[in-house]
């Protein structure tokens, strides 16, 4: 009996130890497996990760300078990431992991706009994080892709990436028309003019009688009324989609827990 009990005790201990080992392995495995071949942010100040080799050496260095300059203007990091082998990651996942990793190591700007080109699937993806997420929501990500789509499609990658930087900077610095200084100044002047005009018009006294002043309520009223329902017409309209291809609206979240905006499609 005792022996049997002892044997069982040992076996359960072993079992649990094995379980912990397996669990730990399962947890770490994807990280180990995929991170073996992933592109990681090398250091702060590197903006081009051209793993797919779409650019020549001179193009890469000039693009790098260009992205840095645009990023300074825009007040955020502007990154271009390419790959020809995304591994098991599909869609937005690659760029999300890229950002998560860069965030953890502190080697990427927390406010960032990223362009990802997957040459294997011919998939393009734009994501914006932090401050940039407010300025560049999903629809704007999509608009950026629209702007560079032709260049990407026909293989003018350098132009496409420069175009991406331009657009990112433009949208980051974009001020809606009603927030622009001259528009507001004009509006203020118009309001001032209207107010003074009303004051001047009212300086001579205003009409204070209205339609009810002289109405004799005792002898006035509705003598006959009808409200007959005739018919109903219903117009149906499809709900506008938040984003045409990245699917679904609202904010996206990376596995590292970073909320961002995103749009992507095949090119």
């Amino acid at each position: 009996m005792a022996d049997h009990r002892n044997h069982r005790g040992i076996s359960s201990k072993r079992l649990s130890a094995l379980l912990v080992l397996v669990l730990a392995f399962v947890c770490v495995l994807p990280g180990i497996m995929v991170r073996a071949d992933e592109v990681v942010p090398a250091a702060k100040g590197v903006y081009v990760y051209d793993d797919a080799g779409l650019l020549t050496g001179t193009e890469e260095s000039s693009l790098s300078q260009y992205l840095e300059a645009c990023g300074q203007e825009a007040g955020c990091g502007i990154y271009v990431v390419t790959t020809s082998d995304p591994g098991t990651r599909t869609g937005d996942r690659y760029l999300e992991d890229f950002y998560d990793r860069g965030f953890d190591t502190g080697q990427i700007d927390t406010d960032a706009v990223l362009l990802y080109v997957d040459m294997k699937e011919r998939y393009v993806n734009v994501q914006a994080y932090g401050k940039a997420q407010d300025k560049i929501p999903d629809t704007t990500c999509d608009a950026i892709i629209d702007a560079i789509f032709d260049d990407l499609h026909y293989g003018d990658y350098y132009d496409a990436f420069r175009g991406f930087a331009d657009k990112a900077e433009y949208y980051m610095n974009y001020v809606p028309i009603y927030l622009r200084v001259w528009v507001q100044l004009l509006a203020a002047l118009v309001i001032g003019g209207i107010c003074v005009g009303i004051m001047a018009a009212n300086s001579g006294g205003t009409m204070t009688v209205n339609a009810n002043t002289y109405l004799d309520q005792r002898y006035s009223g509705i003598r006959a009324r009808r409200d007959d329902y005739i018919r109903t017409s219903v117009k149906r309209r499809k709900k506008p989609q938040q984003s045409s291809s990245s699917g679904g609206g609202g904010s996206h979240r990376s596995s590292g827990g970073h909320s961002h905006s995103s749009a992507g499609r095949k090119f």
Binding site: L185, S203, G204, L215, R225, D227, R231, S233, V234, R237
Partner: protein
């Protein structure tokens, strides 16, 4: 004929006192109830009343006619000394001086001795007012109120605000017609109720159509229309509303001490004006009964308004003449409520100041909001 009110105590001239609402003797302060005075209604012969009063007019009607003839002849001969259109000349009972009047004057004061004079014959027959709202704001109150009003003007020049150049302030009974109108309004419309809801992937806009019909009976009471040629219509309209609770039957003593005019336009002539105005009100009333719809389109609308009656009424107005930089500004004050209308001079400097101030303020707020949003 000239009507003047003498104090039974001392024989001095009496005038209407807005504070006590009685006739007051300027000399001994004696007060007399106006209701105790004989009425001077349209039906009662004013001559008979006047002769009852005894003291009032030394002239008989014929004599006045004579004078009138005389006046006409004078004018035909080329004299310009006399400006009364109907050629009547009135003589002050006190001093015998000719009372200077225009053709429309019904009450004034003797330009020579200052005694209040009421021209009784111009207030009788067809020209007898039915109602009157006596002055409630007296001269001192009117002046004070005007000064206060000038000071409160946001765009008036600083030197205007002191209001120390009131050239003259005249209490005047302005002739009005008070119309009672009655009629029906009919409207036949197609109205819709619009509702939006989502159903799956679709946004549905549901429009329900209704046939709406309304028939109203409406009565408008005592809509005032200024019947004096001299008075600016817009200004008189703005003086409203008058409190009709104080509407009393007309009696001549109310005019003692004030200016008064008779109407230039009779109730028929002014009917289009009042009809146009009441139609506007009726339209609003009709529209206000059709509620609960998103849109209303009229297929047919018919408003029929008929005058029930029109009553000749005198309403109290203080006219203030004000000299400012060589030009005269005229203001009118409701003699019952104290409401003031009239175009005050506008200071360019103050307009610029307000304009700059408001614009700068609005701009600052906008920038702040922008910074907050960014």
């Amino acid at each position: 004929m000239v009507v003047q009110y003498k104090c039974p105590g001392c024989g001095a001239d009496m005038h209407y006192d807005a504070k006590t609402r009685k006739l007051k003797c300027g000399s001994c302060g004696r007060l007399m109830e106006i209701d105790a005075m004989p009425r001077s209604s349209a039906d009662a012969g004013t001559e008979a009343e006047d002769s009852e009063d005894g003291e009032i007019s030394p002239f008989a009607a014929e004599e006045i006619e004579d004078e009138a003839e005389f006046g006409r002849i004078e004018r035909e001969e080329g004299s310009t000394a006399f400006d009364g259109e109907d050629g009547c000349q009135y003589v002050c009972n006190n001093c015998g001086a000719v009372v200077v009047t225009t053709a429309d004057t019904t009450a004034t004061s003797c330009s020579f001795c200052g005694a209040p004079v009421v021209l009784g014959d111009r207030l009788s027959g067809k020209k007898a007012p039915v109602w009157i709202i006596p002055f409630k704001v007296n001269k001192e109150q009117a002046k004070a109120a005007f000064r206060k009003w000038c000071g409160g003007g946001k765009l008036t020049p600083r030197d205007f605000m002191t209001a120390d150049r009131i050239k003259n302030i005249t209490g005047m009974y302005v002739p009005f017609w008070l119309y009672d109108m009655e009629g029906t309004g009919e409207a036949d419309c197609t109205a819709t109720r619009v509702r939006t809801y989502t159903q799956g992937d679709y946004i549905c806009t549901e429009t329900k159509y209704y046939h709406v019909y309304r028939r109203l009976h409406m009565a408008y009471c005592k809509v005032p229309v200024d019947a004096s040629e001299k008075m600016n219509d817009g200004m008189m309209d703005k003086l409203e509303p008058f409190g009709y609770g104080e509407l009393t039957r007309f009696n001549m003593p109310y005019l003692a001490g004030y200016l008064a005019e008779q109407y230039n336009y009779d109730d028929r002539e002014l009917l289009p004006r009042v009809t146009e105005r009441v139609k506007r009100y009726a339209n609003e009333y009709l529209a206000s009964t059709i509620t609960g719809y998103s849109t209303v389109a009229y297929n047919r609308k018919n408003i029929q308004l008929d005058p029930v009656n029109a009553r000749y009424t005198l309403l109290p107005v203080w006219m203030v003449c004000y000299d400012y930089r060589d030009s005269e500004h005229i203001f009118a004050m409701n003699g019952q409520t104290g409401k003031i209308v009239g175009k005050p001079p506008l200071s360019k400097q103050k307009i610029a100041m307000w304009f700059a101030g408001i614009s700068a303020g609005v701009f600052a707020v906008m920038r702040l909001v922008t910074m907050f949003l960014a």
